[in-house]
Symmetry: C2
Subunit: 217 residues, 2 copies
């Protein structure tokens, strides 16, 4: 079975993919928008939120590239909504009527829910039987293209620990959060990483790793 790609996952230098105290008002908790400040400076972002201007350099180019050849996305429950979103039958994610995914998105959850078709090609499917099942369904939906793991940190941990990630594009932001959820926690030490590409701007360092399970130490 083909594996997933952790794509464009932003972490702090101390390794946190999100802060503490996630809520409806603060999707990233005390981290606020700090992990993504580099992104807000780009033309890609400005255009997405209906503004003009923004930088057209490396960070912008990376953002334009990062959705290519993606046929489906995987998402943890913690990324889809604030704690307790499953108690709100009307919750349809953070992203408004036209989410920026434009593919089927498979949301890991313990709470069954009917699929939700949004504008622009995004459909949220809710998977209650685990990460293997979600990946299998996403692979099928992707129709030969890649499956992207969009977050959050907990879902990333699970897929990494299971050896189901083959490529990982990290954005290391130059800041410390001091708390929150780390991407690399409960993952173990038996993954073999190859550092495949490093690109940086003054705002952030993008590192791409290729992964395989370590067979012989």
């Amino acid at each position: 079975m083909s594996l997933a790609r952790v794509q464009f996952f932003s972490i702090s230098l101390d390794g946190f993919g999100t802060g503490e105290g996630l809520s409806l008002e603060e999707p990233f908790g005390h981290a606020g928008e700090r992990l993504h400040e580099w992104m807000f400076l780009t033309r890609w972002w400005r255009k997405m939120v209906g503004e003009s201007g923004g930088s057209s350099g490396i960070d912008d180019a990376f953002l334009r590239l990062h959705d290519q050849r993606i046929g489906a996305e995987l998402m943890g429950a913690g990324k889809y909504g604030p704690p307790g979103w499953h108690e709100d039958p009307e919750w349809k994610g953070w992203w408004g009527p036209n989410p920026p995914f434009h593919t089927p998105v498979f949301v890991l959850t313990h709470h069954p829910r009917e699929s939700i078709e949004m504008e622009g090609g995004t459909t949220f499917h809710f998977v209650t039987d685990g990460i293997d099942s979600a990946l299998a369904r996403a692979r099928e939906a992707a129709g030969g293209q890649d499956v992207k793991l969009v977050g959050g940190a907990n879902a990333g941990q699970q897929y990494l620990a299971a050896g189901l990630v083959e490529e990982m594009q990290l954005n290391v932001a130059p800041l410390l959060l001091g708390g929150g959820e780390r991407l690399f926690e409960n993952v173990g030490a038996d993954l073999r990483l190859e550092q495949n590409r490093v690109v940086h701007t003054p705002e952030v360092t993008h590192i791409q790793y290729l992964l395989s399970r370590r067979l012989i130490d």
Copy 2:
């Protein structure tokens, strides 16, 4: 007061500066030599251990540069010897009669000991009254040159938390350790980091940060 530089600190992608189970036989515990494999490939290293050959690329150049303008070094107790080294009155560090520091080295410890003069300009001084005192003494000994914090992770944490580090050169090795001691733990979140320089080879990514205490969030 001038501050210290964390120089050439190697960490795993999951943030560990050393592994678990440190001992006389395994100075880095279960990490073994994995954090420093990139270094063993260089001409600089080969020469230091009396061998010929080795690479002369970026990693080698970095190693040649990293001791320039260093007048004194700071070292945590955990870096100077294995657990319990203070019970051995003959312990003089890991590095043989001619350690690779060639400056005064101020070792943080709870156990007073007479200074030890080694060959090649290294003198170990043992400081029992805390990190501020050790830095003050190192600054004085450095005679206007920089003070380098050579490790380990715990000493790094303390100096970072106290806001006493102004520059940090990290080598991020493409591997996961899954356990050990992280550099960025108990450090808090109120340091402002500027990503100043990123250089990489296939083996490792070198990132230099400039630090200042965050005054206004």
